[in-house]
Amino acid sequence: MAERTILAARDLDFYYGEVQALRHISINIPAARVTAFIGPSGCGKSTFLRTINRMNDLIPAARAAGSLTFRGQEIYAPDVDVTDLRRRVGMVFQKPNPFPMSVYDNVAYGPRTHGIRDRRRLDLIVEESLRAAAIWDEVKDRLKKSAMSLSGGQQQRLCIARALAVEPEVLLMDEATSALDTISAARIEDLTLELRERFTIVMVTHNMQQAARISDKTAFFLAGELIEFGNTERIFSMPRDKRTEDYITGRFG
């Protein structure tokens, strides 16, 4: 199946004040695929992930230069509606962060914010989102219970359901399984592979085996630069750049 580019960076630079966190990033991220960002801490992979839904806007003196487009539209153009961008580009964080409210209200929060009030429609969205996040069977009898009573793995899947409820086109996952036990992590990994059919997924991970298992494309970052990008199978069997080889084989430094 031919790949369609959904996110494209061209000579993207990013600064935190005087510090340049990204240098001349150029990459085409394909739609309906899982793309993994890997690299040592401080390499810029999380910064790049957070430029995609402008999560970095919250940091003072952060600024971008160059081009970053989502379906051809400049993400950093002055007239971009950031709230709408974040609806279309959802995010799941390392630490599960459910709101201190019921399971149902967590998932309904986004759609309500976007003006959906009809009870039956909300019920449908909540059920569909929880099903898509593979947690429906576990919570269908306690939708009114506090989300904080769920296990860590369940909370993370609830957060994914919450992200899916606003029908995003892209899902960003920032080390979304690193705080979970192996069974919960495996469920999220399986879920990622299922969601790939309908969403574009971009993930940051420190787990090389996870990147090799579930991503279609892998991008290796180092010191703010994109060193190598390609099909995951190729990157993990025949990396072209010695720095990529040294990093993934654990001989870096």
């Binding site: 990459i27 085409n28 390609g230 993990f236 069997s237 084989t249 654990g250």
Partner: protein, 223 residues
């Protein structure tokens, strides 16, 4: 960085070298058993074959341990998967040397017809085995490719031996039984050469990602 893993990879190289040496010794012993009608050498060849089998199991365990504990990728993964494939070929080389030794038992003392090129074949096959393992340990692609090319020499020697044995039978029909045994031995040596080529191909894979490296192929599916 990863000094323990690197030490274990070095150990893997040493064990493979040892297995290659055992193969060479098995081949030499089996052929000495033939050329000099030396029963003790036939026993040596069989003993080496058993040692080769044990070495295969030991290397297999080491590779499984490394796969489990180190979860290797890239070059490390290719090294370990190549080692797992190579030891299968080396084990077959040991079997074939033992098969040659087995035949010498019932040829029993008949002098080898002087014009038959068995000894040259033996040297050529043994050289291929040694070089193929050495090319892995040294990471020398050129050496591995030389082994692949050298297979033609062994194949030509096999054809020559076959013609020589056909001529022998024509001259003296009573030597047909012995000639067929010698043909079997030549065939085993030719197979040993083929296994050495397989080893060399796995060396090429471990170094380049392709068993038959040519000019680098365009990776059209990628940006």
């Amino acid at each position: 960085m990863r000094s323990r893993f690197d030490r274990e990879l070095e150990q893997l190289h040493q064990e493979l070298t040892r297995m290659g040496e055992l193969c060479e010794e098995a081949i030499s012993a089996s052929v000495l058993a033939l050329l000099e009608d030396d029963r003790a050498m036939a026993e040596t060849a069989r003993a080496r074959e058993r040692a080769i089998d044990q070495q295969e199991r030991d290397i297999e365990s080491l590779c499984m341990k490394l796969l489990l504990q180190q979860q290797p990728v890239a070059r490390d993964l290719r090294t370990i998967s190549s080692a797992l494939k190579m030891i299968g070929d080396m084990e077959r080389i040991g079997d074939q040397a033992a098969d040659i030794a087995e035949i010498t038992r019932h040829i029993g003392g008949a002098p080898l017809p002087g014009q038959v090129h068995i000894e040259e074949m033996t040297q050529a096959a043994a050289k291929m085995v040694t070089s193929s393992v050495a090319s892995f340990v040294r990471g020398d692609l050129g050496m591995a490719q030389a082994v692949m090319a050298y297979d033609d020499v062994v194949d030509q020697l096999f054809c020559m031996v076959k013609e020589e044995l056909t001529a022998l039978i024509r001259r003296d029909a009573s030597s047909a039984g012995e000639a067929l045994d010698l043909l079997m031995i030549a065939k085993y040596l030719e197979r040993i050469g083929d296994h050495a080529v397989n080893v060399a191909e796995w060396v090429a894979y471990s170094l380049t990602g392709s068993r038959y490296p040519g000019p680098p192929a365009a990776d059209s599916a990628e940006p």
